[in-house]
Amino acid sequence: MVKVRVWGSLAAATEDRTEVEVDATTLRELLDALAARYPALRPQLDRGVSVAIDGKVYNDSWFQPIREDSEVVLLARLKGG
């Protein structure tokens, strides 16, 4: 199981928990598992998220490996100027 930290406003979609656990070994599995376990997250997942894995930010790389002890943080999709 991987622990995933979600930002505060998403806690409404995760039964008021800011840290949830899902089974995943890659970024794609993580996002799929979150959507399946917490359907209320889907609107935000559809709008786009970035995921910080051990402090590095990933946007799209489905097959980025995630270890059980990785620090995983869901972020709003980063876009810049």
Binding site: A12, V57, N59, D60, K79, G81
Partner: protein, 748 residues
């Protein structure tokens, strides 16, 4: 994909030097071709008719009189564009380029015309009759959130917005950890204050411009000034129902962007006019159009609660941020809420952000979007509390600074970061202890930005004479061609002047994300290095063929293939030029390439220091001395790194002191020109001193971090803190224009 896990600690020969930029001569002789400098045979001139109302229902548009004018070849309105049903993001961009049922702000496009001359187009534009039903409007963020405020759209709020709020509130964001109440209870003093910033424009000197042509077969070509030709291609294709591969977009030289050219305004309209008229159509905005109808950044209203102990430990930080991003959802408030407390190691931190729509132009990204306003509020509050306790503001920041292992307010745990280093350098710098005169004061503040990576492609072609072309897909907005040539030369082991870097059109290279998020030197640099490594592998293979040895018995060093290892035998090295010369005999032309979605950009921190003098008679604030301390990871071309630090600082000075969008009671923009929207000029400023720190980014082979955006984050509070030190008044409303400062001094 994951990239190099650790950067090499290596001695560079090219990286870190200051060679002349390859486009320098074109740009000092007037030869460089920018957006408005292109022409095509048979070209028409396109102009846009814009709403004079802040908010109005468009009941009817009659274009018949305009179309009857000889020389008018096409008129388009929203009716000429397809209906976008399933994609709010694209639908909003289209609606912003050409209004649908309603005009949502002063300057909103409602129709466009293409004619054989500008004079005819201007005359015809006046003959388009638009029947408006004027509606009540709102341009202030706090007013727009009130129940009963005029509503722009119904049904655009997402699921994060509680029931019962104004329909103008479209999203809510919350970040943080800990228990704010408990944290505040542990403070010796709690500061509560509201800060406001006005919208500012990126202020690039080159107005938007493009030249479009399209045939009835759907093949189209577009030349335009943009931060991302692929973004233009994909956005225009989605809006107009074109195939991406049929629309070729070529980026001109770009006369500044700062985020404002990461979307489209004229381009879909020019294509629609070109399609309808069957002729090339050129469109160029006036400065007034740029200010009225392209994206400034958000204005903001921010409540802060900050607790501090008397020895300077921040016990809790809370910020509620309200940003209006103009007439459509998407203000950068989430980044404000994520970055507000990012420089600090806090046990109790919470931010709440509200995205609000108003009758103003759709905001566009502006250099570290959303972060400067949030930093203004937080860094002002820290300064006020520190001063109240008689503490050194740099020491207070050091005491609370985020470090490796700190859990950031937006969730991540930081790897190695450079904030503490910038603070220590600031403290040791002679600027910090230089004497000050009367009415003068010194301020400091910190800033943070995320930095991005993203989709990137680079091709590298080795010419038969051993010279090298780097082909990349991101417009060169501040010297990036020089940086790419330098990294290519470094990796290949050849001299800088053997390499020429060019920017490809959308048909000539795979997808490249827009030039944003300070990503180019990081991500394109990384792809350039990897493309060079690819070319080197091929050249080693060719040398192995010539020598009759195994490929893995050849290594590349100092610009040549060398035999290596016990079984390689003895062969004189083959230089890149020698291998290139026999490429046809060894398998054909030699090229390297690399395609990646680069992840792993390193976050960036800066500390700024300023001395100001406040004139007690007029309220005018003079910048006397300014120093930027920022981590660059590795400065590839230090002169252009300094340039990014200086340019960002001065944009921040303008935001702090002069620049603002001023709306009249009728909701129209009152200062749509460079005379009244006053950006800093040379006589306003001293030299901007820079200190480059180099704390390598582990996600890049040379340790590079993006440097472009962070420099605009600290100046707002840096200057407000200095004004407070100089005059004793705490300015919580930007800009700190002379009348406001004078009123504050008189009222103090």
């Amino acid at each position: 994909m994951a990239l190099d896990t650790k950067s090499e600690t290596r001695q560079f020969t090219v990286v870190g030097t200051r060679p002349l930029r390859p486009d320098g001569i074109d740009k000092v002789t007037g030869r460089a071709r920018f957006g408005a400098d292109m022409t095509a045979p048979g070209m028409l001139i396109g102009l846009v008719l814009r709403s004079p109302h802040a908010h109005a229902k468009i009941k009817r548009i009659d274009t018949s009189a305009a179309e009857a004018i000889p020389g008018v070849h096409a008129v388009v309105t929203r009716a000429d564009f397809p209906v976008i049903g399933d994609n709010d993001f694209i639908a909003d961009i289209l609606d912003n380029c050409m209004a649908g049922e309603k005009a949502l702000y002063d300057g909103h496009a409602v129709a466009a015309i293409a004619a054989s001359s500008g004079a005819i187009a201007r005359k015809a534009l006046k003959l388009i009759k638009v029947d408006y039903e004027v509606l009540p409007h709102v341009t202030d963020v706090d007013a727009a959130m009130k129940p009963g405020a005029p509503v722009l759209h119904e049904g655009r709020a997402n699921e994060t917005v509680p029931e019962g709020m104004s329909s103008n509130v479209v999203a809510r964001y919350e970040f943080g950890h800990g228990d704010i109440g408990a944290g505040l209870a542990g403070a010796d003093r709690v500061l509560e204050r509201t800060y406001r910033t006005e919208a500012t424009h990126q202020g690039y000197i080159e107005p938007h411009a493009c030249l479009a042509q399209m045939g009835p077969d759907g093949q189209a070509d577009l030349w335009c000034c943009t931060q991302g030709q692929y973004m233009v291609r994909d956005t225009c294709a989605a809006i107009l129902g074109l195939k991406q591969g049929q629309l070729r977009v070529t980026a001109s030289e770009i006369g500044g962007g700062f985020g404002g050219k990461t979307t489209v305004f004229l381009e879909p309209v020019a294509l629609a006019l070109a399609r309808k008229s069957g002729r090339p159509v050129k469109m160029v905005m006036t400065r007034s159009e740029v200010l009225r109808a392209t994206g400034p950044t958000a204005s903001s209203s921010i409540d802060i609660k900050l607790g501090m102990t008397k020895d300077g430990r921040i016990t809790a930080g809370f910020a509620e941020l309200r940003y209006q991003g103009g007439a459509y959802p998407g203000s950068p408030v989430e980044f404000g809420a994520m970055s507000a407390f990012a420089p600090y190691d806090l046990d109790h931190v919470k931010t709440v952000g509200w995205d609000v729509v108003t009758n103003r132009p759709k905001q566009a990204a502006y250099r570290a979007p959303g972060a400067p306003m949030a930093a203004f509020a937080v860094e002002s509050a820290i300064d006020e509390l520190a001063k109240g306790f008689g503490l050194d503001p740099l020491e207070v920041r050091l005491k609370n600074a985020a470090r490796e292992g700190t859990r950031a307010s937006y969730g991540v745990t930081y790897p190695a970061i450079g904030l503490e280093a910038t603070l220590r350098r600031a403290k040791d710098h002679p600027h910090w202890t230089a004497p000050l005169g009367s009415n003068q004061g010194r301020g400091v503040a910190c800033g943070f930005w995320f930095n991005f990576g993203g989709n990137t492609c680079v091709s590298m072609n080795i010419a038969p004479d051993g010279t090298v072309n780097v082909i990349e897909g991101n417009p060169d907005i501040g010297g990036s061609r020089a940086s790419m040539s330098m990294m290519a030369a470094e990796e290949l082991g050849i001299s800088y002047d053997q390499v020429r870097t060019v920017i490809a059109d959308t048909a000539s290279l795979g997808l490249n994300d827009v030039t944003d998020g300070s990503r180019v030197t990081f991500a394109v640099g990384l792809a350039t290095i990897e493309a060079a490594r690819d070319a080197k592998r091929e050249m080693c293979k060719r040398a192995a063929m010539v020598w009759g040895i195994e490929e893995d018995a050849v290594e590349w060093k100092d610009g040549a293939a060398h035999p290596a290892g016990p079984n390689a035998g003895s062969h004189p090295p083959m230089t890149l030029a020698e291998i290139a010369a026999i490429a046809s005999n060894t398998g054909g032309p030699i090229a390297g390439h690399y395609e990646v979605n680069a992840e792993g950009a390193g976050v960036s921190f800066a500390t700024h220091m300023v001395d100001t003098e406040v004139d007690p008679e007029t309220g005018a604030v003079k910048i006397l001395r300014y120093t930027v301390f920022q981590d660059a990871g590795k400065a590839v071309h230090p002169a252009y790194v300094e340039g990014q630090f200086q340019g960002g600082a001065v944009q921040g000075i303008g935001w702090a002191l002069n620049e603002e969008y001023i709306y009249g009671a009728d909701g129209t923009l009152q200062n749509a020109g460079f005379l009244d929207y006053r950006i800093p000029v040379a006589s306003d400023l001293p030299m901007i001193d820079t200190v480059i720190l180099e704390i390598p980014n582990p996600g890049h082979p040379y340790g590079v971090r993006g440097v472009g955006e962070t420099s605009i984050v600290p100046p707002l509070a840096t200057i407000a803190n200095a004004v407070s030190a100089a005059s004793g008044v705490r300015m919580a409303d930007l800009p700190m224009s002379p009348p406001k400062v004078l009123a504050a001094i008189k009222g103090a």
